[in-house]
Amino acid sequence: MSSVSRSLRRRFSPRLRWKHLLLIPLLLLSVFYLIPMYVMLATGFKSFAEVSLQTMWDLPSGLHMDNFASAYAKLSPYLWNSLTMVIPAAVISSIVGSVNGFVLAKWKFRGADLIFPLILFGMFIPYQSILIPLVEFMKTIGLQGSLAGLVLAHVIYGIPITTLTFRNYYAGIPKELVEAARMDGAGLLGVYRHILLPISVPAFVVVLIWQFTSAWNDFLFAVALTGSRNWPITVALNNMAGSQIIAWNEQMAGSFLAALPTLLVYIFLGRYFLRGLLAGALKG
């Protein structure tokens, strides 16, 4: 009886009502996080006539598309560059990560435990420490300036995180399942294709989203490896913002366009995004 009465008492105790005051700091924090979004959208939807730095906090008079249209006209080639670069990068990375993760989790060979931390370290290195050789290498193989070179860089430097995510996912799958399949005569590839691959969808979603987001948002590799025709959106947007001529309203609308693809992924697949994020902290 005591636990029932206690929980009843707690439900109606003043402490519980007071607790709702905690919504106030949460709402204030929400304002802080929404401010940049508000400025991007409020500016984006203004008509050209309404745009002025003095009224940047005012709501637009209606949903005008002028700013988005002119930003899109300037940025669309770069948005497409990003898209054509990001999709192969994410897909290839996932396949590579899945195979590596499978072998390292379920088919350990001698030395696998030594190799894994060496791979993981690659996740954290500042890319400034490999940038000069990377650019020289791309020049040598003739990919400097191209999107193909950028895809290659994202796939290679994505190996640590994709391998880690898949390894952790496969490590959670019971050994018995794999052993039973081997009893039935399945070899390495059989176990992978018939046992692990069919249940790998969640891990594939996590890794695809992760690689999509990080390649889309990357700036350093993009600015180092691509030429002006092949700039991804981050480089183009930064150059737009750096030039003196282009109005800030177009920059706001352009920023929103640049953020939209990864924001949509976050809105619809946020749970998987979070998992990738936590994997990056090695929190599996």
């Binding site: 919504l23 700091p25 949460l26 924090l29 996080y33 929404l34 940049p36 991007m40 730095l53 003095q54 940047m56 590579v96 590596n100 072998v103 088919w107 190799i115 931390p117 060496l118 791979i119 993981l120 370290f121 690659g122 500042p126 890319y127 400034q128 420490s129 490999i130 940038l131 000069i132 050789p133 020289e136 290679i156 190996i159 070899g187 390495l188 590839l189 889309w216 948002n217 700036f219 981050t234 947007l237 930064n238 913002a241 920059q251 706001m252 920023s255 640049a258 953020a259 990864t262 924001l263 992924v265 976050y266 995004f273 979070l274 994020l277 936590l278 902290a281 090695l282 929190k283 599996g284």
Partner: protein, 295 residues
Amino acid sequence: MTKNKDTILSILLVSPSILAVAVFIYGFIGWSVRVSLSQWKGLEANYDWAGFQNYIDLFSDPRFHIDIRNTLLFTLIFVGGSLILGLGMAILLDQNLPGESFFRSLFLFPMAISFIVTGVVWRWLMNPATGDRISGFNLLFDELGLDFLINQWHLTPTWGIAAIALAAIWQMSGYTMALYLGGLRSVSDELREAARVDGASEFQIYAQIILPMLRPVTLSAMIILGHVSLKVFDLIVAVAGKQLQLDVPAIYMWQTTFDGLFYWRGAAIGIVLLLSVAVLIIPYLIYTLRTEAEI
């Protein structure tokens, strides 16, 4: 026999990746080290030996002193701010309030967008102009009668880098929140209930039981954020361009290498950055993998 065949096959499957990591990470690091010890300046590669004098030159370079100072200041404000804000938000969200998942998603969404987008927007929010051309936060402060808050943002002498750190906190505090929330969720309800039965107040429960249990989370968050702040590049470039006052090693590395063609110096900065990150990350990797193995 099939077992042997499968072992060979498994090695074959991972060897392209292992080879890629060996070449593109460790090989390239070695290559950078070699460049950093050379006299390479200009478009043509030049591997003539200069030795550690390059590093001595770098560390006695006044610009690099600015970089170190800015990096330390940025790290302190960014990591400290993200930890405090993230912990605060996680505790608030741990109270079973209505709208919890909405707030959680909202605080975390900046992680999905690029430092470039964040930087371009914050560049206008933190517009240092005053007088007739006042805008951004300064305009808001003016309209709200909070004139004393009006400031120069990233152009503030000495403390300008703190404005960049503010934008970085906006971007990444949700991430610390997520880490802390994971930690809080692993504190069992029985433990909290037992403490309540013993007469502990909510405050005491947090201060004496829960916060000490979150120490490993704090450590991970500090290391992850710390290594992010050592690498900071895009955010500063997008907010402020490349100006000396806000210089950091990553920007110096970029300019001296690709604009100034001082390849030896660019490589040396890259290696110094690598070593600073390694000091943080290697013990963390060893610790994490060891605890993982024990479980």
